[in-house]
Symmetry: C2
Subunit: 357 residues, 2 copies
């Protein structure tokens, strides 16, 4: 795994840098420093409340001195290209021999200046949104696994699907279980050091890409926790979400929901249906390919008071008959217990032909 | 519209040339000749039973003499690249000034030899599977149209979704109605001379691409017939099909089915659910975004006796309560009547805010 210098120039702590903040939250030991000259000299804890003493520096050179061997570009930018000081920063980082992990839609490899420079210096470029050359078309290969596969699904995009699976993985591993996380988006890839952006592949290969990451995450594990994307009812991204469902072919689903959210992200015209209905739709859309059962509800209550959050959790339990919690705010144990109970049940009923890579 | 020389060397009349045969079936007046030296001197009718006197020729030069101004490459090839005599044929065609309409996954524009040659000669290249540069993310824009939008959906891929919409368009136009076809795949694009391969775009833009073709096909028309792709239960392609549903946001669906088919294409492990169930799933997956109603069933009975075909049509009517027929084999009138009745109902209930481009 690389030791990252997280690029966040002028934006550390604001939403544009949320990818970098997630990497610090879930993978702090792989972050050497943060690059933001407006906070240089402070540490992560002082600016974002997490990340402890990880230093914030003003230059690539200071990042190198802090032990970084890779530059992580996970910031949100407007439009294409490498705006502002990002281009000279990439230039200096490549010149200094830092690997580049780039989550932008513009690829460093294809840049007429930076691509050749990296090749000349022997620096590896990871444009994580570039799909691999040869993806298969999805064909249900996950059914042959003996492992228990779980997918996070949601009532909307950007609602906590990656978060709950990372929290579950960490809690399961801490209890001694062999649980693997399958990264399907850029933040997950930065955190794990591998994965596939399923929303960045050619449309015919969404399910095939989901199969690939699920099969790989299964290696050496008993429980596979697949990062969800979007929502099967999102007007822009539903195709990605359904391809991910039919490629990862989970036995179990974790339903993610934000109780305060009434309409879809960037689509005020579209009301979010009741949680119970969204759960039912997922199960019905999966059933012909594989019987998938929703086993728990993960709520994002970040914008609710503690009392309202607990009320929302109780309501979700009543509505669905499933264990529910906010795994960031409260104890994740109800979800961990749900996963372990489900895994025992799957193991007991797995066909003898199933394989465990 | 171009006048095509349809490339089918060594394959005219076999499944590998089915794209070209579809273009001859639905757009014969845009086909000047077919290129297949093994049938040179014959005419289309003699080899495939349709296409009348359209000549089959042995060389690009003979195609030019027959009036072609474009080469159509719609043949199925194994792997990437331009195998066999295809490359020298492309070379000669570009040299002779023919536009290239290419449906392969390998793009002529990117070829180090053919791309520069075309630019030098000022020859236009249409790599129809190359997505346009700037597609929007889907956001439900079709809801603002006053037109009636219909989408063909199916129990599987390759089951007659393009065919029924082209047959319907031709029949509606023949009756004096303003009906437009929205091409979403390569064959439809060759037939219409425009469109977007929704399965070839980056996954995040499937619905956005579907919106674009639906909005364009609506211009100057009252009824929009959107070409379907795949199936929302296909293990490889379901993401494309759902993105197409949520991007085109039809008020009406035409359900396509092949009665003899028991399992999904290239996926023997997966049984095709009952037609009624597939219809219900489509309507439920569309309902939160737009209430879509299935208005007719189109059957592909190519592999049934006439008696069995008629029995299958009667059974589909009984099972669904909808008008049904095989629009290629029998009179399409029941489907035309269903569309016109539905269009009258939509028109009567269209909100005053709806626009008609």
């Amino acid at each position: 795994m690389p030791r990252f210098l997280v690029y966040a120039e002028g934006a550390f702590g604001v939403p544009a840098s949320k990818t970098g903040i997630s990497v610090i939250r879930y993978s702090a030991n792989h972050v050497a420093a943060v690059l933001d000259s407006t906070h240089a000299g402070e540490c992560c804890r002082e600016v974002i409340g997490i990340g402890g003493e990880i230093p914030i520096v003003a230059t690539v050179e200071d990042g190198l001195a802090a032990g970084a061997n890779a530059l992580l570009v996970g910031i949100a930018v407007n439009g294409a290209g490498f705006p502002g000081v990002l281009r000279p920063t990439l230039h200096r980082a490549i010149g200094a021999g830092l690997e580049i992990w780039n989550g932008l839609h513009t690829f460093v490899t294809d840049d007429p200046e930076l691509g050749p420079l990296a090749r000349e210096r022997g620096v590896r470029l990871h444009d994580v949104r570039r799909p691999p050359e040869h993806l298969p078309v999805g064909s249900g290969r996950v059914r042959d696994l003996a492992q228990t596969v779980l997918l996070a699904v949601g009532t909307d995009a950007n609602i906590g699907k990656m978060t709950v699976m990372l929290q579950l993985r960490d809690a399961l591993v801490a209890r001694g279980h062999r649980a693997g996380f399958a990264p399907t988006g850029q933040t997950g890839i930065f955190i794990e050091g591998w994965g596939l952006c399923v929303d960045a592949v050619i449309a015919d290969f969404i399910a095939g890409a989901a199969e690939e990451v699920t099969l790989r995450a299964a290696e050496g594990n008993d429980i596979v926790l697949v990062e969800g994307q979007g929502s099967i009812l999102h007007p822009g991204y539903s195709g990605v979400s359904l391809g991910l469902l039919h490629g990862s072919l989970p036995q179990g689903l974790i339903a993610c929901h934000q109780p305060s959210r009434k309409s879809f992200r960037h689509n005020d015209w579209l009301a979010i249906p009741p949680l119970r209905e969204v759960i039912d739709l997922h199960e019905r859309m999966c059933a012909p390919l594989r019987q998938a059962k929703t086993i728990a509800v993960s709520l994002n209550t970040v914008d609710l008071s503690e009392r309202d959050a607990k009320d929302a959790i109780a309501r979700a339990q009543d509505e669905t008959g499933l264990p529910a919690t906010d795994p960031v705010r409260f104890d994740i144990a109800p979800l961990v217990d749900a996963v372990l109970g489900f895994e025992r049940a799957c193991r007991a009923t797995a066909p003898p032909s199933a394989t465990r890579p």
